[in-house]
């Protein structure tokens, strides 16, 4: 079996988000970039499925050369090889288009992604890839079993979960629960340096959306402290002042 895992390079979760250039650009000064946590969990599941020589895992990233440490991390965790499409992501459609174009040249059984990237939070790339390839997609997957032909997945729905069955090939966007996080071991880190990383130039496509400006949330007003034995006072304020109950 052949699995493709899409990985994005995102600011570390502790990053305080600021912008430069009149709020048009994300300020990368001093920011550490990491493998998107959901992509890491998708990768972990892919590696588990291929364990014992049952298949190979390729990771793909659309990005400039600055994303290579993140790609090497994915190889250290256990991916077999990597592809980088050499372009700055313009929007989700652009990214999905590049990945779909690459996938068309290969025969992947599964294409796994994270449920969303923690920077753009579009949750757009996975379903776009599937539409471009005209194959099914299942989003927010919390469990994934695959026998080589048919997969059984559990996905999150409003107020519950749904178990579905679908034949490969398809795209699944993965969330917590789908696997245990894997920590790269010394052997993984050493071998990651020599695993193949292919760089491909981007295919031409249009950009369908553009971020013109960013805004940071308005600061909240100061907290009103209430004595621990005056819970009734809190209930009154929630009713009369905040008007939420």
């Amino acid at each position: 079996m052949k699995i493709l895992v899409c990985i994005s390079n995102v600011p570390d979760t502790t990053t305080k988000i600021t912008f430069t250039n009149d709020n048009t650009e994300f300020n990368t000064a001093g920011v550490q970039f990491i493998l998107n946590p959901y992509d890491e969990i998708a990768l972990s599941r892919a590696i588990d499925l291929c364990e014992g020589g049952k298949g190979t895992v390729t990771v793909i990233n659309v990005g400039d050369s600055s994303t290579e440490p993140t790609i090497r991390k994915a190889l250290a965790i256990g991916a077999d090889d990597a592809v980088r499409i050499n372009a700055m992501p313009q929007d989700a459609y652009f990214v999905a288009y590049q990945i779909a174009e690459y996938a068309k040249t290969q025969q992947f059984d599964l294409i796994l992604t994270g449920r969303e990237s923690i920077d753009h939070n579009g949750a757009q790339v996975p379903a776009m890839i599937a539409e471009l390839l005209d194959i099914p997609s299942v989003s927010i997957v919390k469990k994934l079993d695959f026998d080589g032909k048919t997969a059984t997945l559990s996905r999150e729905i409003e107020g519950g979960k749904e178990v579905v069955e679908v034949d490969a090939p398809f795209v699944a966007s993965c969330a917590e629960g789908v696997a245990e996080w894997k920590i790269p071991n010394m052997r993984g880190i050493m071998s990651a340096r020599t695993k193949p990383l292919q760089v491909i130039e981007a295919a031409a496509t249009e950009q369908l959306s553009k971020i013109n400006q960013y805004q940071t949330p308005a600061p909240r007003s100061a907290v009103k402290m209430i004595e621990a034995d005056d819970v009734k006072g809190l209930v009154d304020l929630l009713h009369s002042e905040a008007k939420v109950i």
Binding site: A92, N121, G122, M128, G160, V166, G177, P217
Partner: protein, 321 residues
Amino acid sequence: MSVLVYVENTEGQFKKSAFEVVSYAKAIADQLNTNLVALSIGQVANEQLSNLGGYGAQKVLNCNGIQSFDSQAYAAVIAEAATKESAEVVVMANSFSGKGLSPRVAVKLKAGLASGAVELPQINGGQLSVKKTAYSGKAFAMLALNTQVKVIALNPNAFQVKENSTAATIENFQASSATSRIKVKEVVRASDKISLPEAELVVSAGRGMKGPENWHLVEDLAQALGAATACSKPVSDAGWRPHEEHVGQTGIAVSPNLYIAVGISGAIQHLAGVSSSKTIVAINKDPEAPFFKVADYGIVGDAMEVLPKLTEAVKAYKAQS
């Protein structure tokens, strides 16, 4: 020209979030001076469908041919309806299903997509500018859509339901191209549970609760308020609570009217997913806990003592109001 709104049903019923998207789409149709057409997929009774008129839909397309949810088949129906109605803007909810759906619709229509919209768009000629969440709730982005057709997926709880009584005509709609390739084996829906992203009130608790055996205190308060329950990441990692309750940057993002955080320190990753809540209450025994910096109301105290008292006070308030 028109605005098309896809309205999701839950087992044949429209919930508040459905009326939110219709109200939002109606406001856009008014901005553009055009008609609002709603589309429903699945088995929904006619009287339910005509309820959509109450929020401004002039026409309701009813596609009851496909039973279970398959984003590929649904997207084909929505795109076909959009083409038939010459829709300039297609609106839907940024729900769990919507996240799998709106990108496919956008690709089919070669449309720019804004998912996670939190406000009405600004319209400049043929361009829409949509405010959406970015960086896990730590920021917003103004996204410009220049394409002929635009798709907007609205965040839950971001737009107020607005009644707008219109007599809606109901029309059957059968799409030609939709075939489902996904088989649904099982649906587990806790009917008494309020879905977290849509909840207006949320009671959330962290490691300060010490262990799962104390969670009844959290549930009692949630029940008294009619709130959903949530938790911090370490709590679900430890298996005290299920993963789907974990909120924050790597969990679910919520923006309820009221978020009560009990025994949660207020780490940046947690706050990322909850800071757009309208009102925040923090209960923590440590007066220095970072959560108090973003809270509107705070109580310094032991959760085990404060929670039962607060639950009683809420019950007393409910009884007299």
